[in-house]
Symmetry: C2
Amino acid sequence: MNRMKWLSLGIVLCSAIVGISRADEALEKDAQDPNQWVLPLGSYSGIRHSKLSQITTKNADKLHVAWTMSTGTLRGQEGQPLVVGNMMYFESSYPNFVYAINLDNVGQIVWKFAPEQDKFSPSVACCDLVNKGVAYADGKILVTTLDTHVYALDAKTGKVVWSAQNGDPQQGQTMTMAPLIVHDKVIVGISGGEYGVRGYLSAFDLKSGKLVWRANNVGPDADILFDPVKTLDGATGQPVGKDSSLKTWNQDEWKLGGGTTWGWYTYDPQLNLVYYGSGNPGTWNPSQRAGDNKWSTALIARNPDTGMAAWSYQMTPHDAWDYDGINESVLTDSVVDGQTIPTLTHFDRNGFSYLLDRRNGKLLRAHKFDSTTNWAKEIDLKTGRPVLNPDKMTKEDVNVKDICPAAQGAKNHQPASYDPKTKLFYVGTNHICMDYQAFSVKYRGGFPYVGATLSMFPADHGNIRGRLIAFDSVTGQTKWAVNEMFQVYSGPLTTDAGVLFYGTLDGWFKAADQATGKTLYQFKAPSGIIGNPMTYMHKGKQYIAVLTGVGGWAAIGLAEGLTKGTEGLGAVGLTTSLSDYTNLGGTLVVFSLD
Amino acid sequence: MNRMKWLSLGIVLCSAIVGISRADEALEKDAQDPNQWVLPLGSYSGIRHSKLSQITTKNADKLHVAWTMSTGTLRGQEGQPLVVGNMMYFESSYPNFVYAINLDNVGQIVWKFAPEQDKFSPSVACCDLVNKGVAYADGKILVTTLDTHVYALDAKTGKVVWSAQNGDPQQGQTMTMAPLIVHDKVIVGISGGEYGVRGYLSAFDLKSGKLVWRANNVGPDADILFDPVKTLDGATGQPVGKDSSLKTWNQDEWKLGGGTTWGWYTYDPQLNLVYYGSGNPGTWNPSQRAGDNKWSTALIARNPDTGMAAWSYQMTPHDAWDYDGINESVLTDSVVDGQTIPTLTHFDRNGFSYLLDRRNGKLLRAHKFDSTTNWAKEIDLKTGRPVLNPDKMTKEDVNVKDICPAAQGAKNHQPASYDPKTKLFYVGTNHICMDYQAFSVKYRGGFPYVGATLSMFPADHGNIRGRLIAFDSVTGQTKWAVNEMFQVYSGPLTTDAGVLFYGTLDGWFKAADQATGKTLYQFKAPSGIIGNPMTYMHKGKQYIAVLTGVGGWAAIGLAEGLTKGTEGLGAVGLTTSLSDYTNLGGTLVVFSLD
């Protein structure tokens, strides 16, 4: 190699390093600025708390709609906008339009991205055609689409910088999650747990879109990027050992093993670990898959640069209830037995909150956050395993009744909020139970691989299906709970002024007092809310923005146009009355004081 | 007949008469109550003016969004809600959902009607899948659907009382207009002028849904319900004579004669006459249809009980520009030559405002309300006919350039408002011109029978496509004009406090000072506005409600998902930049002061 070649290579390497450093640091710095909202969850820690305090418990009743914008789509809006500097970016439900708005002139759309999509993908999306939003880094907007594409768009122009394909809709794979950018990696997952998809996390290079690593959650060690010696099992505190996943499946069932990755991801820069949860094991019929089915329904910590797993903790070994473990891990400090330690709090579909030492996955506390939870009596802190209630174990061809929570979970993907001042979590929860009958199912690519019929109903057989709670994940105490008619499927936002924001499935956007849960202000939004309010400051004024647009699994009957009289059908029956209160339709609604 | 039979018949007749009287009188009475909005245009006279005055020029800047509701549909929302007592009713674009809301509890939908529709109908709707709203009478909500059904719903329950079919989508017939109820008749029309449909007005019995009469606008006297002796021609002041329509067509072309009836209808209880306009003649290629093509592009007054025409006045004989005459007739008193007489004011697509004596159709005044109008120099008051500009006459295979206004009209269907205090009309207008090339076309049922290609553009070749004007239909003077970037396709509402409300195609809802047109308040709505604001009072508070949701012919490119690069296509090219400002999506938005 001649000198010029070396020199030019040196320049490239150098600028690449500088570039990486800038993107990463800029994002971390911007994430500290309460005027902006640069990460899908607002921060790497996922606390969904803002330091803004212009809207207070005293003036929240003076809130008003500042401006609005239709998403141009009817299906459920699960995400939230980003605000980067003067610009707002958001993504609609399928067909996944992405919009850029200059906050100085909200009457105009700076650019719109309308991806060409594989028309097959809507037919294999289990639970509405949703999307959890875009990510930003280094002048790019990162987008996932239902047909498993990842796009990097120029944030200024909306032009495609690169695109990559992360899956195959023909095999039941889809994408609905928001990417997480760490260093120079775009981290995304895959959906399709109901189609026998074997889940994975992928990291694409931020600059080029090239796949850097991919880690499955079930399968051989080489696939799952688990080191038998170095990767720890949070339940035992021991190394996972060889074939930690393989040996928990009968024969080749792991190949259809589920453990998808459609939830939220968080990141600890100090430990350099990304945290996420894996979904239910493949087929909902537990009789077809003896064993723990590791590492489905587990929390996993990985090095973002290499994908190698530092530790894993399985919440629901041999999940027999579709207790998909994808819910977010919120990273905070907690005082446990007098010691302040870096923890991870995870509200699982299975009805338990988990408090782990996020350095090693060690289970510190586990509490029922919905008291009706009955599939397990408790989580044994010594073994890290649930103490099962044999009456509620499902099996092929038996209709097991009154299991709590239902498959939709005591909480689904709607992200929780944590206020560092009160040290409490504010969680949108479900309050629902189910009957569950497993049946034998054969795999065929691109066809449902479910293997169970369900019927869900309100836990108290009344008209309460959800609750907003303020919860202490160390003590397990519920400070307060507010009942809602439907599942609370919108992720709360807390703020330094003690005002909390969330939405309801029947279309009320609410500001509540964090101290009591009492509603301070409410507004009847165009549609039910499964999106997550965020906040930003523009020209000295605090705004709260939320995507309204009912849908998702919570409102799948409405989303799919299934009408009354279909009460028996899984999650559909739970919310047939929802059509008495709201309507499909995606709209961004932005609030402020006058 | 025995005595009992006579007696029972007597009772039936009696109650029928009482019933008729009640429905009719109640509606007239309710229409006088400014707290309600019981007729699509607010009143039989169509003035779209409210006596409410809580929102003033002083406090209008304090307006806020009170509540919202998605229509559940994406296509253009052309209508407006009704308010009857405590209830609000409105209809969405296709698939024509109808909603009932109790104003005491706007969080809940009292009932929703979702008609089963002929799936073929969307493919033959020329100009988006719109609807102009429901009507009310006698405890029933009257609904038209795109697939040409008329439904009478129980206003309390939404249950179908009766349904009737008024056309055949397979032949290109659709329905988008709001019904008008007069006495015991439900008066509706038909769309499909671009499919060779021969237009008619139908009257269904309010109680039973039976067709009582149907009057074509072109064809034999027996079809058009014109009396050669009694029916007057407004242009000449003379009886129309025998075969007044037939003799103005070559051969059988009248059978495909157009003259559809998709606009607004008004009614004068004193004269007992219903007023409406007829659409363009069949095929836009004038060379295929020599003659005046009567009674297309005409205003017609009919007896609502019998359908018989009292008079007719043709605005655009031998229409060679698609100057469809369906725009509304606003019924007021006017001082003409010192005499106060009952008049009808009609702002036509062809760029002229027409002032007629509504007793006999006599033309009193005609003025250009858009000064660029150049297809005719003037309307000769003596002959009642336009003085044509031969340069702008279109003919087969000639591309005639720079015709003003464009086919979309100097004003389209968006209804005007009239303030009895100022005696001015407030009109949303278009400011657009076109090139027009006719071509030969053969009829085939259910296929377009258009016969012209068009290209529309802003009249001044700039960025102004619409204007809101305050206009005197007697003097022809424009008191003021406010420019808008796009066609003003929302019907203004005036109020006794001198505040005017309208919406823009790019999504701004505006309150303006009627004295100047100056904006007092504006709000960025979820989507562009082609609906018509209405107002009502509930529990002492004045509300303004508007259906937002861009579409219609004005925004057909956006509605049909046609993207940039299609600038050549008729009306599409006119508004390709609209996607830089707004998005599809139907939402009811309701405003009030705090």
